[in-house]
Symmetry: C2
């Protein structure tokens, strides 16, 4: 990839939009694709080279294609579906798959692309919407040296931490999935602990204060239990995201014939929360599966 | 308590020894009690006012008694057993119970002491041996204003963070137990994640690096998984400590008729590790319950 290279980003959700903006800011000729015309229009106004609701329209111009749709099934549809772009990419274009998907999917997609002569980097990202917007993501990559080298300008534009896990596609996704195992279990454990505190009539504000200053703390406890203490379940990341991600964790473990006592339990907790109607609330709403407790409620002003 | 007050510490394990030393350093006339004469002798050389293998010998001199034995049963034996000290304490002596015990035990002990006219502060501690030695513990207290005020010189000598949870003995212990719930689940989750990484042939050093720089991190992951990466299971805190503490968590939840899906699972994991022969190893050895993986082993030099 030369400095005047063209990079396409498919999927302009909160993460994809941040990635596309970071590419523009880094001086890359950036193309955006999303089914939602409003997202396309927003990126055009940020200085995109061009936008489209159909990736097929721009595929032939790209030196790099970043895929940031919701799941493995969507990645496959974008690349190999009816109007799939894989066959339309020019020789030398490199695909970076940054959606969270199973290692099995990552390997399968890489080998289908390889059959078309296209190199792929398995490159899931972490850090949330704010770090996507500021170009400070963490990327866990695996794939050939060639794919990695060609995508360097994109990686440098979007991330401050880039890990090379190995040469085999699927390893990056595995690391991301194991990270999500911890994130999900930590949110569920935080909810379980705060629910028990509520049951024992411990002031939750005080419980939060003690834990966040002691060895029982986790990044997720500190970040998510603030929402519980404030009674604010506006979704930053939703319960259903962890139903999906812990589902991927479970799939990956099954493929490796490996038991996961805690992650399985946490998946059950998020699934119960989703079925109870909290799927679109903040993931800290997993605490609502516990009955027989009173949780703090947001005051009307805080809600507004 | 006046500056020239006499404080006794029963139980000179790693935590109790640190607490006693911190009292000496703060200028309090400090008495130490332990069944082990070597521990007594060590504290005498540090400047203790006096030491004894039997608390009954020194009870009458004390203005404050800190109990830091292993569990609730031992606390009861020290205070109310055959040679129990409760009846030997002078009027106005205040008892600070800093062992980790159930809220039920804490309430029971407080009410037995109250019947003898003795005030008690429920005051479990957190922070580990190093912070005990440096006088930088965290204390979660509950009890009467009077008990709290009288023990202030001791609290100031041993801790940098002192929380007042409420007036009712048992609340301090509940907060400590909920903290241990998180600590135990986080160690078990860290082990589960690293075991899955080992199964997937992800280099553990790299997995550690990614997690400790991302939202999946916890204090326990960062601290304990270092031991796994180095293959060093020298016990800082042992598996059996979490069999005990998560057992207290389970007891407390049962007393409140409250389900704990994750903590129950983590207790099963530590119990399995203990039964497999790892009870006296570092608590990170809970990872050894997973079969079908190869974990790093310490090189001979590192072991020495």
């Amino acid at each position: 990839m030369e400095p005047e290279s063209h990079v396409g980003v498919v999927g302009l959700g909160s993460m994809g939009m941040g990635v596309a903006r970071s590419c523009i800011r880094a001086g890359l000729a950036t193309w955006g694709v999303d089914l939602n015309p409003a997202a396309c229009e927003a990126l055009r106004q940020e200085g995109a080279q061009g936008v489209a609701t159909d990736a097929a329209e721009i595929a032939a111009r790209l030196d790099a294609l970043v895929v940031l749709v919701v799941n493995g099934q969507q990645v496959k549809r974008v690349l190999f579906g009816e109007k799939g772009v894989a066959q339309r990419l020019k020789a030398g274009c490199t695909v970076m798959v940054s959606s969270t998907l199973s290692a099995t999917d990552a390997r399968e997609i890489a080998s289908q692309l390889a059959a078309l002569g296209i190199a792929m980097l398995d490159a899931p990202i972490s850090g949330g919407a704010a770090k996507a917007a500021s170009g400070e993501l963490t990327v866990m990559t695996s794939g050939s040296e060639q794919a990695f080298t060609r995508l360097k300008p994109v990686l440098e534009a979007i991330a401050t931490s880039v890990y090379r896990i190995g040469d085999e596609p699927g390893m990056g996704s595995t690391v991301k999935i194991i990270h999500q195992l911890l994130a999900g279990v930590h949110i569920a454990a935080a909810a379980e602990a705060m629910a028990l505190a509520a049951r024992a009539n411990i002031p939750l504000e005080l419980m939060y204060e003690v834990v966040t200053h002691a060895a029982g703390n986790s990044w997720m406890f500190e970040n998510r239990m603030r929402h519980v203490v404030e009674g604010d379940y506006t979704p930053r990341s939703a319960v259903d995201i962890f139903v999906k991600d812990l589902g991927l964790v479970a799939d990956s473990a099954r493929a490796l014939n490996f038991p996961l006592p805690l992650a399985t339990t946490a998946l059950n907790m998020f699934t119960s929360a989703s079925n109870a109607g909290f799927g679109q609330q903040d993931d800290s709403a997993v605490i609502k599966i516990f009955s027989g407790i009173r949780l703090p409620e947001a005051t009307p002003q805080e809600k507004g």
